[in-house]
Symmetry: C2
Subunit: 213 residues, 2 copies
């Protein structure tokens, strides 16, 4: 399986946001190509307030999720989606606070910045604990995500959060009681990624103290 | 946040495998674009043999993971990766048995077909239990993955598995003792997606019977 030869890369589109490139290689003597998209390494942070016993997540409209949950029609040669039939809420996700590793600093510092930008919490580094890393994708993209856990208190809240206006981010923070987190995992009406579900199960196994803090 | 208007779609590349398209919409009156890639809905199956107490996973070379784990250099205008410096094993993943929903049948039937194609197990539908659904991505793609759990026995093994030769698949099956699954979750030297980690924690919480079966 690991008998790979002649790896080379070709750019294959000009999209500004998605930059696919083609990997050409031989596997067991057979020539293969695979189109890859580098979507960037990322961090995510499971945030819990142990004093009020709530998780703090982000909620946002995700165009890709909306598109997958709706059907297109064509009008005057333009493909459209009917918002009456497919309301925007179909594209709303619940996610861990997260961000791309797009600055020249450590992943824990990126996590710290996202806690401030998205949630409005100023959290010292020693309150940010690494859980583990995994692949955010294995097919089209293979980027690494580092997941952290952070316990916060209301005094750390220094602004409203909501993402960077300059980046056009429009993010709501949402608090979910710890007693509701388990059912949220299996509530299929809530769009969410597997990383968040893993993080929640990790929490209940490793951090949860049902009888007081 | 859900104040969205004027959704339309434009094709923006011609890649055969990755077909990005541009979603144009207004959010709170502000015009936005987002490039989306439909990578297809999928199924995954956590497979456990309770008689020999092993998980059965697939192991394969994933070009996208390899590319993310290695650095490129340029030679005569061609970008390459040096396999001496970056051995192919950097692109090998452990994953749940999985596949795309690319046929006109139910997701549980797709799961049944993947169990046969990838692992070589002929499993009756009533032995395939749905766990839940989630988004395999929320940024570039927003496709849905349905995760199943299946308990198998050695008598169900009818062929070697390994994927479809016609599709160029080259997949190894790998058995991991149930006593090693937990440490595997946090072993960062093993490339794996978050869905697999969620599936394993779900198993230990819902199915594991340490003292015999």
């Amino acid at each position: 399986m690991e008998n790979i030869q002649d790896v080379s890369i070709e750019t294959c589109t000009e999209s500004k946001y998605l930059r696919p490139y083609r990997l050409r290689y031989k596997q067991n003597g057979r020539e293969k190509i695979w189109d890859v998209m580098d979507t960037g390494d990322s961090v995510s942070i499971l945030v819990y307030n142990p004093f009020r016993k709530v998780f703090i997540f982000v909620k946002q409209f995700r165009p890709a999720v909306y598109s997958c949950n709706s059907k297109k029609y064509e009008e005057n040669g333009v493909k459209k989606i009917d918002l009456e039939k497919y309301p925007a809420k179909l594209g709303v996700t619940h996610e861990l606070c997260a961000g791309l590793v797009d600055k020249d600093c450590s992943v824990i510092e990126i996590a710290q910045q996202e806690l401030l930008e998205e949630l409005g919490y100023k959290v010292p580094l020693y309150k940010i604990e690494k859980i583990t890393t995994f692949r955010s994708g294995v097919g089209a993209s293979g980027n690494l995500q580092t997941m952290f856990y952070s316990e916060v208190s209301d005094v750390m809240k220094v602004n409203a959060g909501g993402g960077l206006e300059s980046e056009g981010e429009l993010i709501e923070t949402v608090e979910i009681p710890v007693t509701k987190g388990r059912e949220m995992i299996y509530d299929e009406s809530i769009n969410k990624p597997a990383g968040m579900m893993f993080g929640l199960l990790w929490f209940y196994e490793n951090k949860y103290k049902p009888s007081g803090y």
